[in-house]
Amino acid sequence: MKTFKKVMSLAVVAAMALSVFGCAKNDASETEAAESAQSQVDAEYLSYAEYEAAAIDTQVTVLCTVMATQSWWEDKITVYAADQDGAYFIYEMACSEEDAANLTAGTTILVTGYKSEWEGEIEITDATFEFADVDGVAIAAVDLTADFADDDALLAHQNQYFSMSGLTVEAIGDNGEAFFYKWDNSGTQGDDLYFTVSDGTVTRTFTVEAYLTGADTDVYQAVEGLNVGDTIDVSGYMYWYEGPNPHITSVSVG
């Protein structure tokens, strides 16, 4: 177990990479963070390794940095988060609308919930949280291009922010469509998008999760503009549903 004293080391790490979030802190704010960490010295949390080792259905507390959130609804929000060692998918965390507005990328939160598994996705459910007044950890995308065809290698990076490059868009439907609205094209604009990509050896289906990146976002519109045969670079979160089912947050055509 760690305590909030270790938040100080997090703050140091964060200070080295604040440019990612574009919110460099001055000395005064670092002092405030340290004081806050001291004030919560009794709060214990798991390291990522301890979280990873914890059994399913056990209560866990983790300190993590928000990477992104899905849309808030009725006092719940789903969060993509990480620390310097791994990533967390926090499903429908209890959260007021006011707090949800402050769950921006780079915010550090202390989350308590239950480690759960749903269709292969390891996640934290029935969670509550509190803001930790310390700077977030910079989360850089891990390049998984070389692991594209390897399920086990991708599993090791479950929930992490990742990138892949040089993938080829393949037809997803019998009629040569480059993408579907919903998995079988039974949906309409505004629904999740599905598209398939290949590295030349394996074909995978990627998703643009509408609750994360809706129809008005660049990634949604980029996928709607894809053509079969395009070479693309992507980034997103390595979500899992009966295998890799990444939630893509950016697409650029090479």
Binding site: E74, E92, S186, G187, T207
Partner: protein
């Protein structure tokens, strides 16, 4: 299938607040006169109607809707139908309530009677259909309807009765399904059992417990895998509701009185807790889709809708798991587990169609004609064939085309088995009472099961205190105390406040004064005369 998980949990929670929101919204909405059937349909005027439909994330259903619209517009060239597709009933419910407040409801809407019960809390919002049913020209089987429409008598009575709220029909049934027990017969027999025609709860628990036997290496003996959840129920609310009905225990009544929290409920939850403790049972909410576990050989008894039959079994046409994970086994379909095999009970569910009232009665009539077209054989038989649905008209059920479909060896056998199971048991189906708030009650029933499952897995103590706390928590979350209280007209509200007494007294004095003035004035006039 991925999205459903979020949509369900997100949107079910919306339902908790929907009723109260609608009540306030209705105060602001445009007042609408009750619809009266026009003498004749205006074929010269152009009508644009909107149709909010639901599909099971099934492209074939989308195609059938589109084909139905095309065919209908060919019959009625002055009616243009715009479809808006949903894959979740609760999302429709959400949007309808929002649009009632702004007077922008759709014309025709696929929905559940539970939801209509909330919609009709606004006056004349939803059109009662009784007069339309029997209109000689435009009613069901009416003389001037331009397609072969079923008569009222040809709509399955059990299904039509489900659309009655406050003694009026506010909907017509569109499709019906029930739940089925999909069984890995191969594993049941490997465990030394035979699958009976009607399976009891005791049988399911006994076989499930037997399936927990493990090899020395920790794998399960029956499947040789590290994962085995012998019994998974897709719809936790249906599980609780069905068990209560089978045991003739309380749930709710037509007046909206809630009887969910009773000793039988506690007994059911204790059984659930025991079985979860042995690893024998879980739910969709906690573990995932029953079909995925069943097809991977990690589940023996999977309860899901007959409308999900194409996902069930080794040879299922639809699957979310990789084909390398699918295990070869024989699937059989049975009614959901029963307490009394001589008196089987199973839920009837499925979409219905309602029509929203509009300023122009001709627009409403156009809406009705389209809604009625959805009961034609062309639509009923085609849509029923997409899953284990059953047509809601005897006209369709008894047609040669539908009989050919049921006997078509090219159809997926599990889908046909599920459909036949339902057709054989229509008399054994039931529905729950519909009232403003019944959706919240249903969600509460689900939460009792799911919370118990989670608590056991998390090694919480399950005892009387646990259930007392759970009932209080669920009651508060879904505001069930407010639902029950609102329905009890005998509740003693206590003495009137002093301000009220003063105002009432003042009102009385004013009326007395007005009366005295008129009498005095009358006497004076008579004297003058």
């Amino acid at each position: 299938m991925i999205k459903s998980r979020k949509a369900l949990s997100l949107l079910l929670s919306f339902a908790v607040l929907a009723s109260s929101f609608l009540m306030s919204a209705c105060h602001e909405q445009v007042e609408r006169h009750e619809f009266i059937v026009p003498d004749a349909f205006d074929s010269m005027h152009q009508y644009e109607i909107t149709f909010w439909a639901k599909n099971d994330t099934n492209i074939n259903q989308t195609r059938i809707y589109n084909q139905a619209i095309e065919d209908f517009e060919a019959l009625y060239p002055n009616i243009h139908v715009t479809i808006r597709l949903y894959t979740d009933y609760n999302k429709i419910y959400n949007d309808v309530i929002t649009n009632i407040a702004t007077d922008t409801t759709p014309n025709v809407c696929i929905t559940y009677p539970d939801h209509i019960a909330t919609y009709i809390s606004g006056e004349n919002t939803v059109v009662p259909l009784d007069n339309l049913f029997t209109d000689p020209n435009y009613g069901l089987g009416g003389a001037l309807v331009r397609f072969n429409s079923p008569s009222v008598d040809q709509v399955v009575p059990e299904f039509l009765d489900e659309c009655v709220i406050n003694n009026r029909h506010y909907a017509i049934p569109y499709m019906r399904s029930t739940e089925a027990l999909y069984i890995n017969k191969t594993y049941v027999e490997a465990l030394g059992y035979e699958v009976p025609d009607i399976v009891t709860w005791d049988f399911v628990w006994e076989v499930s417990n037997a399936a927990m036997a493990q090899n020395a290496d920790g794998t399960y003996a029956v499947n040789g895998q590290s994962v085995m959840i012998p019994f998974i129920y897709k719809s936790s609310d249906n599980m609780m509701i069905t068990m209560l009905r089978q045991l003739d225990a309380g749930y709710s009544d037509n007046m909206g009185n809630i009887g969910l929290f009773n000793n039988t409920t506690t007994s059911i939850l204790r059984t659930v807790a025991d079985e979860v403790g042995q690893g024998a049972f879980s739910t969709f909410t906690v573990s995932g889709y029953p079909a995925n576990f069943l097809n991977a050989g990690q589940c023996i008894f999977a309860v899901d809708s007959t409308a999900g039959a194409t996902w069930m079994g080794s040879d299922a046409p639809l699957s979310d798991i990789h084909e390398s994970e699918i295990v070869d086994f024989e699937t059989v379909v049975r009614p959901v587990p029963q307490f009394d095999t001589a008196n089987p009970r199973m839920i009837s569910q499925g979409p219905s169609i309602c029509i929203f009232n509009k300023e122009d009665p001709q627009e409403v009539l156009a809406s009705w004609l389209f809604a009625q077209y959805l009961l034609s054989n062309e639509v009923q038989i085609a849509y029923a064939g997409t899953e284990g649905y059953v047509p809601v008209t005897t006209m369709a059920q008894q047609s040669q085309e539908y009989q050919d479909y049921l006997n078509d060896p090219a159809q997926y056998s599990i889908k046909i088995a599920a459909t036949n199971m339902f057709l054989d048991n229509i008399d054994n189906t039931f529905v729950t009472a519909v009232f403003n708030g019944s959706t919240s009650l249903r969600n509460a029933a689900a939460q009792l099961i799911d919370s118990t499952v989670k608590s056991v897995r998390r090694h919480e103590t399950i005892n009387d205190d646990y259930f007392d706390h759970l009932y209080a928590e669920v009651t508060a979350l879904y505001r069930l105390d407010q639902l029950s209280g609102a329905k009890d007209s005998r509740t003693d509200l206590g003495p009137l406040p002093a301000e009220s007494k003063f105002l009432l007294t003042l009102l009385g004095v004013v009326w007395i004064g007005i009366g005295a003035y008129f009498i005095t004035d009358l006497v004076k006039k008579r004297k003058k005369a």
